[in-house]
Protein backbone atom coordinates (compact mmCIF):
# COMPACT_ATOMS: atom_id res chain seq x y z
CA UNK A 1 0.00 0.00 0.00
CA UNK A 2 2.75 2.37 0.97
CA UNK A 3 4.46 1.56 -2.30
CA UNK A 4 1.45 2.69 -4.28
CA UNK A 5 0.92 5.94 -2.39
CA UNK A 6 4.59 6.87 -2.51
CA UNK A 7 6.37 8.94 -5.10
CA UNK A 8 7.74 6.58 -7.70
CA UNK A 9 8.93 7.87 -11.01
CA UNK A 10 11.19 6.59 -13.77
CA UNK A 11 14.92 6.92 -13.23
CA UNK A 12 15.50 8.80 -16.44
CA UNK A 13 13.93 11.98 -15.12
CA UNK A 14 16.28 12.14 -12.12
CA UNK A 15 19.33 11.67 -14.30
CA UNK A 16 18.11 14.37 -16.70
CA UNK A 17 17.51 16.86 -13.89
CA UNK A 18 20.81 15.96 -12.29
CA UNK A 19 22.71 16.70 -15.54
CA UNK A 20 20.68 19.88 -15.98
CA UNK A 21 21.62 21.07 -12.48
CA UNK A 22 25.28 20.45 -13.29
CA UNK A 23 24.99 22.47 -16.47
CA UNK A 24 23.19 25.33 -14.71
CA UNK A 25 25.77 25.39 -11.90
CA UNK A 26 28.55 25.50 -14.45
CA UNK A 27 26.75 28.38 -16.16
CA UNK A 28 26.49 30.35 -12.91
CA UNK A 29 30.16 29.70 -12.20
CA UNK A 30 31.01 30.94 -15.69
CA UNK A 31 29.27 34.23 -14.88
CA UNK A 32 31.96 34.78 -12.27
CA UNK A 33 34.79 33.22 -14.24
CA UNK A 34 34.29 35.55 -17.19
CA UNK A 35 33.63 38.44 -14.80
CA UNK A 36 30.34 39.66 -16.22
CA UNK A 37 29.38 42.78 -14.32
CA UNK A 38 26.38 44.96 -13.60
CA UNK A 39 22.85 44.13 -14.69
CA UNK A 40 23.97 41.32 -17.02
CA UNK A 41 25.63 39.56 -14.08
CA UNK A 42 22.67 39.96 -11.73
CA UNK A 43 20.14 38.89 -14.34
CA UNK A 44 22.09 35.75 -15.24
CA UNK A 45 22.73 34.86 -11.60
CA UNK A 46 19.03 35.18 -10.74
CA UNK A 47 17.87 33.25 -13.82
CA UNK A 48 20.20 30.31 -13.14
CA UNK A 49 19.31 30.40 -9.44
CA UNK A 50 15.56 30.31 -10.07
CA UNK A 51 15.90 27.53 -12.64
CA UNK A 52 17.97 25.39 -10.27
CA UNK A 53 15.65 26.05 -7.34
CA UNK A 54 12.64 25.28 -9.52
CA UNK A 55 14.00 21.93 -10.70
CA UNK A 56 15.00 20.88 -7.19
CA UNK A 57 11.57 21.70 -5.76
CA UNK A 58 9.42 20.33 -8.57
CA UNK A 59 11.32 17.17 -9.48
CA UNK A 60 13.67 16.16 -6.65
CA UNK A 61 11.22 17.16 -3.91
CA UNK A 62 8.31 15.82 -6.01
CA UNK A 63 6.18 18.92 -5.60
CA UNK A 64 5.09 18.58 -9.22
CA UNK A 65 3.19 15.41 -8.35
CA UNK A 66 1.68 16.63 -5.09
CA UNK A 67 -1.90 17.87 -4.65
CA UNK A 68 -2.67 21.52 -5.28
CA UNK A 69 -3.59 22.00 -1.61
CA UNK A 70 -0.01 21.15 -0.57
CA UNK A 71 1.50 23.33 -3.29
CA UNK A 72 -0.47 26.32 -2.03
CA UNK A 73 0.46 25.53 1.58
CA UNK A 74 4.15 25.60 0.69
CA UNK A 75 4.35 28.33 -1.92
CA UNK A 76 1.79 30.73 -0.44
CA UNK A 77 3.33 31.77 2.91
CA UNK A 78 6.80 32.64 1.50
CA UNK A 79 5.13 35.42 -0.53
CA UNK A 80 5.01 37.55 2.64
CA UNK A 81 8.81 37.32 2.71
CA UNK A 82 8.84 39.49 -0.40
CA UNK A 83 7.22 42.23 1.69
CA UNK A 84 10.00 41.88 4.28
CA UNK A 85 12.67 42.01 1.58
CA UNK A 86 11.08 45.09 0.05
CA UNK A 87 10.82 46.90 3.37
CA UNK A 88 14.36 46.00 4.40
CA UNK A 89 15.68 47.24 1.05
CA UNK A 90 14.01 50.61 1.62
CA UNK A 91 15.32 50.72 5.17
CA UNK A 92 18.87 49.84 4.07
CA UNK A 93 18.76 52.55 1.46
CA UNK A 94 17.76 55.07 4.10
CA UNK A 95 20.47 53.88 6.52
CA UNK A 96 23.06 54.19 3.79
CA UNK A 97 21.83 57.69 2.97
CA UNK A 98 21.98 58.69 6.65
CA UNK A 99 25.49 57.33 7.07
CA UNK A 100 26.73 59.10 3.97
CA UNK A 101 25.06 62.37 4.95
CA UNK A 102 25.76 62.57 8.66
CA UNK A 103 28.50 60.14 9.62
CA UNK A 104 31.11 60.33 6.91
CA UNK A 105 34.36 61.73 8.26
CA UNK A 106 35.58 63.41 5.09
CA UNK A 107 33.00 66.10 4.53
CA UNK A 108 31.15 66.42 7.82
CA UNK A 109 30.93 69.95 9.18
CA UNK A 110 30.22 69.93 12.87
CA UNK A 111 29.62 73.21 14.61
CA UNK A 112 31.42 73.48 17.92
CA UNK A 113 28.76 73.15 20.62
CA UNK A 114 28.61 75.75 23.35
CA UNK A 115 29.42 74.00 26.58
CA UNK A 116 27.71 75.55 29.57
CA UNK A 117 30.20 74.07 32.07
CA UNK A 118 33.01 76.51 31.12
CA UNK A 119 31.07 79.53 32.39
Amino acid sequence: MSDESGQQHPFAIYIKIWVLLFVLSTCSYMVDFFQFQGYLRWTLVVIFMLLKAGFIITIFMHLHWERTALKYLLLGPPVVLLVLIGMMAIEADYTNFSRDSFFSESDSTFIEPHSPSTH
Binding site: I17, S28, M61, L73, L84, D93
Partner: protein
Protein backbone atom coordinates in the same frame (compact mmCIF):
# COMPACT_ATOMS: atom_id res chain seq x y z
CA UNK B 1 -17.27 0.86 1.41
CA UNK B 2 -17.99 4.41 2.43
CA UNK B 3 -14.34 5.12 3.10
CA UNK B 4 -13.41 3.73 -0.25
CA UNK B 5 -15.86 6.08 -1.92
CA UNK B 6 -14.45 9.08 -0.03
CA UNK B 7 -10.91 8.29 -1.06
CA UNK B 8 -11.99 8.00 -4.71
CA UNK B 9 -13.61 11.42 -4.43
CA UNK B 10 -10.44 12.81 -2.90
CA UNK B 11 -8.30 11.51 -5.71
CA UNK B 12 -10.46 13.08 -8.40
CA UNK B 13 -10.03 16.50 -9.86
CA UNK B 14 -6.95 18.58 -10.26
CA UNK B 15 -5.87 22.18 -9.94
CA UNK B 16 -8.14 24.61 -8.14
CA UNK B 17 -11.05 22.15 -8.12
CA UNK B 18 -8.99 19.69 -6.07
CA UNK B 19 -7.91 22.50 -3.76
CA UNK B 20 -11.54 23.33 -3.02
CA UNK B 21 -12.53 19.70 -2.55
CA UNK B 22 -9.53 18.98 -0.31
CA UNK B 23 -10.45 21.83 1.99
CA UNK B 24 -14.25 21.58 1.93
CA UNK B 25 -14.95 17.85 1.88
CA UNK B 26 -15.67 16.19 5.18
CA UNK B 27 -12.25 14.59 5.38
CA UNK B 28 -8.61 15.13 6.27
CA UNK B 29 -7.26 18.00 4.14
CA UNK B 30 -3.80 16.72 3.28
CA UNK B 31 -3.96 13.10 2.29
CA UNK B 32 -0.25 12.39 2.48
CA UNK B 33 1.97 10.60 4.94
CA UNK B 34 1.85 12.63 8.18
CA UNK B 35 5.64 12.57 8.61
CA UNK B 36 6.08 13.96 5.14
CA UNK B 37 3.62 16.76 5.84
CA UNK B 38 5.40 17.58 9.10
CA UNK B 39 8.76 17.67 7.31
CA UNK B 40 7.31 20.03 4.70
CA UNK B 41 5.99 22.33 7.43
CA UNK B 42 9.35 22.25 9.21
CA UNK B 43 11.05 23.16 5.94
CA UNK B 44 8.58 25.99 5.45
CA UNK B 45 9.73 27.36 8.83
CA UNK B 46 13.34 26.87 7.83
CA UNK B 47 12.65 28.80 4.63
CA UNK B 48 11.64 31.75 6.80
CA UNK B 49 14.79 31.50 8.94
CA UNK B 50 17.13 31.40 5.96
CA UNK B 51 15.25 34.16 4.16
CA UNK B 52 15.46 36.36 7.24
CA UNK B 53 19.23 35.71 7.39
CA UNK B 54 19.66 36.51 3.72
CA UNK B 55 17.46 39.59 4.07
CA UNK B 56 19.59 40.73 7.00
CA UNK B 57 22.64 40.23 4.81
CA UNK B 58 21.03 42.27 2.02
CA UNK B 59 20.21 45.02 4.51
CA UNK B 60 23.74 45.37 5.92
CA UNK B 61 25.35 45.05 2.51
CA UNK B 62 23.17 47.77 1.00
CA UNK B 63 23.70 50.09 3.95
CA UNK B 64 27.45 49.49 4.33
CA UNK B 65 29.54 52.61 3.70
CA UNK B 66 32.83 50.75 3.18
CA UNK B 67 33.37 48.77 -0.01
CA UNK B 68 32.08 45.19 0.12
CA UNK B 69 34.87 42.60 -0.24
CA UNK B 70 34.87 40.92 -3.65
CA UNK B 71 33.83 37.28 -2.99
CA UNK B 72 35.31 36.23 -6.32
CA UNK B 73 38.78 37.12 -5.00
CA UNK B 74 38.25 36.34 -1.31
CA UNK B 75 37.35 32.75 -2.18
CA UNK B 76 39.89 32.31 -4.97
CA UNK B 77 42.43 29.51 -4.82
CA UNK B 78 45.54 28.66 -6.77
CA UNK B 79 45.20 25.10 -8.03
CA UNK B 80 47.90 23.44 -10.13
CA UNK B 81 49.57 26.78 -10.66
CA UNK B 82 46.41 28.47 -11.95
CA UNK B 83 44.66 31.24 -10.08
CA UNK B 84 40.96 30.35 -10.13
CA UNK B 85 38.28 32.69 -8.76
CA UNK B 86 35.67 31.20 -6.42
CA UNK B 87 36.82 27.68 -7.27
CA UNK B 88 36.32 26.13 -3.82
CA UNK B 89 32.71 27.31 -3.71
CA UNK B 90 32.11 25.94 -7.21
CA UNK B 91 33.45 22.54 -6.16
CA UNK B 92 31.29 22.63 -3.03
CA UNK B 93 28.26 23.39 -5.21
CA UNK B 94 28.98 20.42 -7.46
CA UNK B 95 29.49 18.12 -4.49
CA UNK B 96 26.13 19.15 -3.02
CA UNK B 97 24.32 18.70 -6.35
CA UNK B 98 25.86 15.26 -6.76
CA UNK B 99 24.63 14.37 -3.29
CA UNK B 100 21.13 15.51 -4.24
CA UNK B 101 21.24 13.17 -7.23
CA UNK B 102 22.28 10.16 -5.15
CA UNK B 103 19.55 11.05 -2.63
CA UNK B 104 16.86 11.19 -5.32
CA UNK B 105 17.89 7.73 -6.45
CA UNK B 106 17.92 6.43 -2.89
CA UNK B 107 14.26 7.51 -2.55
CA UNK B 108 13.47 5.64 -5.75
CA UNK B 109 15.15 2.45 -4.59
CA UNK B 110 13.48 2.80 -1.19
CA UNK B 111 10.03 2.59 -2.74
CA UNK B 112 11.22 -0.41 -4.76
CA UNK B 113 12.19 -1.94 -1.40
CA UNK B 114 15.77 -2.50 -2.53
CA UNK B 115 17.32 -2.13 0.92
CA UNK B 116 20.98 -2.55 -0.01
CA UNK B 117 20.93 -0.04 -2.85
CA UNK B 118 18.94 2.43 -0.74
CA UNK B 119 21.45 2.17 2.08
CA UNK B 120 24.47 2.47 -0.22
CA UNK B 121 23.04 5.52 -1.97
CA UNK B 122 22.08 7.18 1.31
CA UNK B 123 25.54 6.57 2.72
CA UNK B 124 27.06 7.96 -0.49
CA UNK B 125 24.90 11.05 0.05
CA UNK B 126 26.16 11.31 3.63
CA UNK B 127 29.79 10.99 2.48
CA UNK B 128 29.30 13.76 -0.08
CA UNK B 129 27.71 15.87 2.66
CA UNK B 130 30.74 15.22 4.83
CA UNK B 131 33.01 16.30 1.97
CA UNK B 132 31.01 19.52 1.72
CA UNK B 133 31.35 20.26 5.43
CA UNK B 134 35.08 19.46 5.32
CA UNK B 135 35.57 21.95 2.51
CA UNK B 136 33.61 24.47 4.52
CA UNK B 137 35.90 23.88 7.50
CA UNK B 138 38.86 24.49 5.18
CA UNK B 139 37.23 27.68 3.88
CA UNK B 140 36.51 28.96 7.39
CA UNK B 141 40.07 28.19 8.60
CA UNK B 142 41.53 29.94 5.56
CA UNK B 143 39.43 33.05 6.12
CA UNK B 144 40.06 33.11 9.86
CA UNK B 145 43.82 32.81 9.29
CA UNK B 146 43.56 35.73 6.85
CA UNK B 147 42.04 37.82 9.61
CA UNK B 148 38.32 37.65 8.83
CA UNK B 149 36.30 38.05 12.02
CA UNK B 150 32.58 38.60 12.66
CA UNK B 151 33.41 42.21 13.59
CA UNK B 152 36.16 43.07 11.10
CA UNK B 153 38.15 41.88 8.11
CA UNK B 154 41.08 43.17 6.08
CA UNK B 155 39.16 43.25 2.76
CA UNK B 156 36.52 45.89 3.38
CA UNK B 157 33.13 46.26 5.05
CA UNK B 158 33.07 44.69 8.53
CA UNK B 159 29.58 43.29 7.94
CA UNK B 160 31.05 40.80 5.46
CA UNK B 161 32.45 38.66 8.28
CA UNK B 162 29.34 38.62 10.45
CA UNK B 163 26.99 37.66 7.62
CA UNK B 164 29.46 35.14 6.19
CA UNK B 165 29.88 33.25 9.45
CA UNK B 166 26.21 33.43 10.32
CA UNK B 167 24.80 32.28 6.98
CA UNK B 168 27.36 29.64 6.00
CA UNK B 169 27.59 28.48 9.61
CA UNK B 170 23.85 27.92 9.88
CA UNK B 171 23.82 26.17 6.52
CA UNK B 172 26.83 24.04 7.52
CA UNK B 173 24.99 23.07 10.69
CA UNK B 174 22.07 21.90 8.55
CA UNK B 175 24.42 19.81 6.39
CA UNK B 176 26.07 18.28 9.47
CA UNK B 177 22.71 17.38 11.01
CA UNK B 178 21.66 15.97 7.63
CA UNK B 179 24.73 13.72 7.51
CA UNK B 180 23.84 12.27 10.93
CA UNK B 181 20.16 11.92 9.97
CA UNK B 182 21.05 10.17 6.69
CA UNK B 183 23.44 7.76 8.39
CA UNK B 184 20.89 6.76 11.03
CA UNK B 185 18.09 6.22 8.49
CA UNK B 186 20.43 4.33 6.11
CA UNK B 187 21.38 1.87 8.84
CA UNK B 188 17.75 1.44 9.90
CA UNK B 189 16.75 0.80 6.28
CA UNK B 190 19.34 -1.95 5.98
CA UNK B 191 18.19 -3.50 9.25
CA UNK B 192 14.67 -3.70 7.87
CA UNK B 193 13.09 -1.35 10.43
CA UNK B 194 10.80 0.12 7.79
CA UNK B 195 9.50 -3.07 6.23
CA UNK B 196 6.18 -2.69 8.03
CA UNK B 197 5.99 1.10 8.33
CA UNK B 198 6.82 1.70 4.67
CA UNK B 199 9.64 3.56 3.04
CA UNK B 200 8.25 7.11 3.21
CA UNK B 201 11.03 7.85 5.70
CA UNK B 202 13.58 7.76 2.88
CA UNK B 203 11.56 10.35 0.99
CA UNK B 204 11.23 12.48 4.14
CA UNK B 205 14.98 12.40 4.71
CA UNK B 206 15.36 13.21 1.03
CA UNK B 207 13.11 16.27 1.39
CA UNK B 208 15.36 17.60 4.14
CA UNK B 209 18.49 16.93 2.11
CA UNK B 210 17.15 18.52 -1.08
CA UNK B 211 16.13 21.54 0.98
CA UNK B 212 19.72 21.93 2.22
CA UNK B 213 20.81 21.88 -1.42
CA UNK B 214 18.07 24.36 -2.28
CA UNK B 215 19.23 26.82 0.38
CA UNK B 216 22.77 26.53 -0.97
CA UNK B 217 21.52 27.55 -4.43
CA UNK B 218 20.34 30.84 -2.92
CA UNK B 219 23.45 31.36 -0.77
CA UNK B 220 25.65 30.65 -3.79
CA UNK B 221 23.77 33.21 -5.88
CA UNK B 222 23.35 35.98 -3.33
CA UNK B 223 26.43 35.68 -1.16
CA UNK B 224 29.11 34.36 -3.48
CA UNK B 225 28.09 35.55 -6.93
CA UNK B 226 26.47 38.93 -6.20
Amino acid sequence: MATEETSTVAKTGSGLRSLVSDWSDDKQTFEIHWGKLMMWIFLLGDTFIFTVFLTGYMNVRMSAVDAWPNPSQVFALTLFGTHLPLILIAIMTFVLITSSGTMAMAVNFGYRRDKTKTMVLMLATAVLGLMFVSMQVFEWSKLISEGVRPWANPFGAAQFGSTFFMITGFHGLHVSVGVIYLTIVAIKVKKGHYDKKGYEIVEITGLYWHFVDLVWVFIFAFFYLW
